[in-house]
Amino acid sequence: MFTIYKHELKEYVKSLLVWGICAGGIGFLCILLFSSMQESMESMTESFASMGLFADAFGMSQLSIATLEGFYATEVGTIHGLSGAMFAAVVSADMLSKEEDGHTGEFLFSLPLKREKAVLAKWSAVMSHILLFNLFCLSLYLAGIFALGGEMDFCRLFLYHGMQVLMQFEVAGICFCISAFQRKNKLGLSLGLALLLYAYDLIARVVPDLAGYKLFSPFSYANASDLFSTGEIYMEGTALGLVVLAASVAAAHVAYGRKDLAV
């Protein structure tokens, strides 16, 4: 099982570096830009706060963009949230289906390895990649924060990044489950799903009638503005996220274990 885990870690290491450098690098630069933009941000804060639904959607009505926390939540939070969800989709979208798509299933599953163990090894590799991506990005963000003096509520920062990891696990779990049922690579579908969930969260925050339904998107409990402004976990959304994550991985496990492998 560890052999498959190691193999999958190696397979996606380039994706990890590309996405990590892009997301972490952009976030790092954004943080560094804050000091030069701080003055203009102060004048923009009031106008952003008065933008109504738009400000609500991006959390600018809850936090001042003129503070590092507010700037981090609205700017870095958006970049990291979107790129994290997309990276989670990329590493999980073809994790199982690639064995049939690339005709490698006959090689892999003719080795003395229970299919369920292979699924577990692959899911462990997905989680490891997500953790590594987040650690890499967080290291760059922290470097940026400390370069600016290191003034930040770190409890809320770590809470936000913890919830981001959970959100990315959920997105990855859903894509992993889709992958178990597919025989072809569905990267487009998985990326689309990640973006759709993000868009749904934005809409649910803007449309008052949908406010009660925002928990259906994993972005609801991993929203930077909410977490930085309140410091509290959105329990309903988190609980549903955990249920969806567990159900998705379990369904992938069962479905792939029973599947007739195409060659």
Binding site: T3, I4, H7, E11, G102, H103, T104, G105, E106, F107, F109, S110, L111, P112, L113, K114, R258, D260, L261, V263
Partner: protein, 295 residues
């Protein structure tokens, strides 16, 4: 001699599509067993069922005394499989792939892998994506052999290999089987079955047509008759009373005649195109049973 493979009443359907139906056969220890059939006959379905890659609806498969439904992992530990489409992870190097297969088996196969790579002339530092079909096949052969399994299952092993490598491959198979391994060889190449297999099974449209020794299958009452009469060369398969044939030929001016056993190819064709060969069209004159008159 104990059976290494025991398949009983294997039935597999893909929804409404046919897979295999009521397939039963055994393969004894030490045998090189030919598995013949055209595309879509059900050979690969049978093999994939044997390896637990697909689930079957009815029947049972026991390999090395173990049931594939309950001890798949235990069976695969002792099996070396070469799929017909030999595909690996393109980004990997050959040596990493071989190590990965050995690591999953929790075996140190470096010595055997080194020997096999040398004999099959494989560059282990090459990337899989840089390998030709034939070289990928050779890597597949090493993957199937490096752990010295008790049972080899080869699906079209020689497709893509040059004649020298085909020869080397069969030498290796014979060496391993001489040491007690068993080999199941699924192929379209009849000469391979004729030259290397003791027993064979023939599949058609998901059903097993026959299982017998290669010697018995080629031993048939049909005869290939080649003759030259009245300036014409004729050749046909005759099945029936040999005295009738001799009496039928007696009245003709025959310059030359050869009566021999039909080839394995002809018998194979008999199973798949019954109209083309081994016809017993009445009991008339030999000319009436003529198959391919001009040679």
């Amino acid at each position: 001699m104990p059976n290494v493979i025991e398949i009983r009443h294997l039935t597999k359907t893909y929804g409404k599509c046919r897979g295999v139906s009521d397939v039963s056969f055994q393969v004894a220890k030490g045998d090189i067993f030919g598995f013949l059939g055209p595309n879509g006959a059900g050979k690969s379905t049978t093999i994939r069922s044997m390896l637990g890659l697909i689930r079957f609806q009815r029947g049972s498969i026991r390999i090395l005394g173990k049931d594939i439904r309950t001890d798949r992992e235990g069976i695969l530990r002792e099996v070396g499989y070469l799929p017909s489409e030999t595909m690996f992870y393109p980004k990997m190097r050959v040596k990493d792939l071989l190590r990965m297969a050995a690591d999953v088996r929790k075996k140190d196969c470096r010595k055997e892998a080194g020997k096999l790579c040398q004999r099959l002339q494989i560059d282990v530092d090459k990337k899989i994506s840089d390998l030709s079909l034939g070289n990928r096949k050779k890597v597949g052969i090493v993957c199937a052999m490096q752990h010295r399994p008790k049972l080899f299952v080869f699906d079209e092993p020689t497709s893509g290999l040059d004649p020298l490598m085909q020869n080397e491959f069969f030498k290796l198979v014979q060496e391993y089987t001489a040491e007690g391994a068993t080999c199941m060889l699924s192929t379209h190449v009849l000469s391979e079955v004729k030259n290397y297999c003791k027993n064979t099974a023939i599949m058609k449209e998901g059903k097993l047509l026959c299982v017998d020794s290669v010697a018995n299958i080629t031993r048939t009452s049909a005869k290939r008759v080649k003759l030259q009469r009245e300036g014409r060369q004729e050749s046909y398969l005759y099945e029936g009373d040999i005295n009738e044939l001799v009496r039928g030929l007696a009245g003709h001016d025959i310059q030359d005649i050869l009566i021999e056993e039909p080839s394995l190819e002809e018998i194979f064709m008999h199973f798949y195109t019954p109209d083309a060969a081994l016809r017993q069209e009445g009991e008339g004159s030999p000319a009436g049973r003529q198959e391919d008159a001009t040679m």
